[in-house]
């Protein structure tokens, strides 16, 4: 996986790509001709991280299995194990991706913190857990993005897609446990949501394009395994739809839409005919 790459092949780094939305985005991009670097904690299926943290339900997926699917699309995969909690490892992981790919055209910030206690109200959330969630849902993305766009600015530009969430903008009708999402998730997603528009403001002139994409409700392996997320599963689209929309966004959408803007994957998917 260290063969030299031709600079005319488009390249992407997708974080959190062992399963779910990240895996689908990585495969969607590979299907559209991208060589893809991927990060996640789970290296092989069945590793200790391959379980839903609250229930212990095993979850399929790993860096190895996503890399296999990327290669099945005829593209190159550059996998790097990365835990968002390990702040010192973030910029080196971006460097490893760039070194493996030869250059970087697209960063997809998809990974977020996954750990026990995700479905608790504010007072039931341990202080250390609050700090971990802010660290892994905001700080980590800032550090990854900083390294990536330093490279992009040096090359005359690049694209950043931030996988956002309605939780970052809206107040749910009911609290967590009764059909809504928890405070800590909402706060960190709100912070994360402001990266794209500010990147566009500060580095748009340097060729950086940045967008927020809200995937909406997606039937990931974790969603299907957790009873508290049944409300998501009921209204969800398949992860492959998100992958197709991101591939379209990288090829076409980024040039048609206003830099720094925010888009709903399901709306784009309907316009593109990927959803009825």
């Amino acid at each position: 996986m260290s063969a030299p790459t031709s600079s005319n092949v488009p390249t992407a780094l997708v974080t959190g790509a062992s399963r779910g939305i990240g895996r689908a985005i990585a495969i969607g991009l590979a299907g559209a001709g991208f060589d893809v670097a991927i990060t996640a904690r789970t290296v092989h299926d069945g590793d200790p991280t391959a379980f839903e943290p609250d229930t212990g339900v095993p979850l399929p997926g790993s860096l190895a299995s996503t890399a296999t699917a990327i290669e099945s699309c005829g593209r190159r995969a550059v996998p790097t194990r990365l835990d968002l909690l390990d702040l010192d490892a973030l910029a080196p992981a971006v460097d490893a991706a760039i070194a493996g790919l030869g250059h970087l055209d697209l960063l997809v910030n998809n990974a977020i913190y996954v750990g026990p206690g995700a479905h608790r109200r504010f007072l039931e959330t341990e202080p250390e857990d609050l700090a971990r969630r802010v660290c892994c849902n905001v700080t980590a993305q800032l550090l990854i993005t900083q390294r990536a766009i330093a490279h992009m600015v040096g090359r005359g530009g690049g694209l950043v897609l931030d996988i956002s969430s309605a939780a970052g903008q809206l107040t749910p009708r009911r609290p967590v446990g009764e059909g809504g999402w928890p405070l800590a998730y909402a706060v960190t997603k709100a912070g994360f949501h402001r990266i794209a528009d500010m990147l566009a403001l500060e580095y748009g002139d340097a060729g950086v394009r940045a967008f927020n994409l809200n995937p909406g409700f997606v039937a990931t392996e974790r969603v299907l395994a957790v009873e508290d997320l049944a409300f998501v599963a009921d209204r969800s689209v398949r992860p492959e739809v998100v992958g197709r929309v991101v591939a379209w966004f990288a090829a076409t959408g980024q040039h048609r839409l206003e830099n720094g803007s925010y888009h709903q994957v399901t709306e784009l998917a309907r316009e593109l005919g990927y959803l009825p």
Binding site: D45, T68, A69, S72
Partner: protein
């Protein structure tokens, strides 16, 4: 415990004929089947049939094997669902023409190679990473006596199938170190395509049966598929690069296949 228990098999053109016969035999042996088929209705019907009759895990994907992206997506669909691909059967064929070589168009020849050669080539490339990672894989390519014996009137089919046999041997050598075996079956069977020809020309069916040393063309499920089960399983782990003629002995009997050809297209 079937002979292919829990093995993941991708079978192209599994909506009818030999592909369906192989899918049914694999399902009976416990395999999980991705029914890759150009026609969504027949593909879904076969997947349902495999589940209903054999309790098999089966899933249909609409696949045009002339479309590289669709072929690769077919393999990714198996990876998404079951995590690997153990068995690949390149069986699909369609869109050939019957006519003299001197009147074959570039488009006819290109289409034949696209469906009969490039489709299997892409599928094999796409299946390789998973097979290599697990150190095991069984690939079966459906080829034809039409190519081996040079039956007249089907130049694009003959050329695609013989190119596929060359690819079979090449892959067998290059991928042997990964534990992947690659073999070809040249069947003599009443296929989906031949049914239409025989329906229009009943005397041709009698001739074809009579010309076979066993007095009949084979049945996809009862005669051809059992050999595919063997090639798809561990019993064939040291058998690679071969062509098995599953034809009642037709290949040692010469080929009296000589249809009337139109003078012009």
């Amino acid at each position: 415990m079937g002979r292919l228990q829990d093995r993941v098999a991708v079978i192209t053109g599994a909506g009818d004929g030999i592909g369906r016969g192989i899918a049914r035999a694999f399902a009976r042996e416990g395999a999980r089947i991705l029914v890759a088929e150009l026609h969504p209705e027949t593909g879904a019907a076969v997947a349902d049939e495999l589940t209903a009759e054999f309790g098999a895990e089966a899933h249909a994907v609409t696949t045009d094997v002339a479309d590289e992206a669709a072929v690769r997506a077919m393999v990714v669909a198996a990876l998404d669902r079951w995590g690997t691909v153990d068995i690949l059967v390149n069986n699909a064929w369609g869109g050939g023409s019957l006519g003299r070589l001197e009147y074959k168009t570039n488009e006819q020849m290109a289409h034949g190679l696209q469906v009969g050669f490039y489709g299997p080539f892409w599928a094999m490339q796409a299946a390789l990473p998973a097979m290599r990672a697990q150190g095991r894989g069984n690939i079966i390519n459906l080829c034809s006596l039409n190519g081996v014996n040079a039956h007249i009137g089907t130049a694009e089919y003959n050329c695609a199938k013989e190119a596929l046999r060359a690819l079979t041997r090449t892959a067998a050598r290059e991928w042997a170190p990964y534990g992947i075996v690659v073999n070809a079956i040249c069947p003599g069977a009443k296929t989906a395509a031949s049914r239409a020809v025989f329906a229009a020309n009943p005397e041709l069916e009698l001739m074809a049966d009579a010309a076979n040393p066993m007095g009949r063309l084979g049945d996809p499920e009862a005669d051809i598929a059992p050999v595919a089960v063997f090639l798809a399983g561990d019993d064939a782990r040291y058998l690679t690069g071969n062509t098995l003629f599953v034809d009642g002995g037709s290949h040692i009997n010469g080929a009296p296949w000589a249809p009337e050809l139109p003078d012009r297209p």
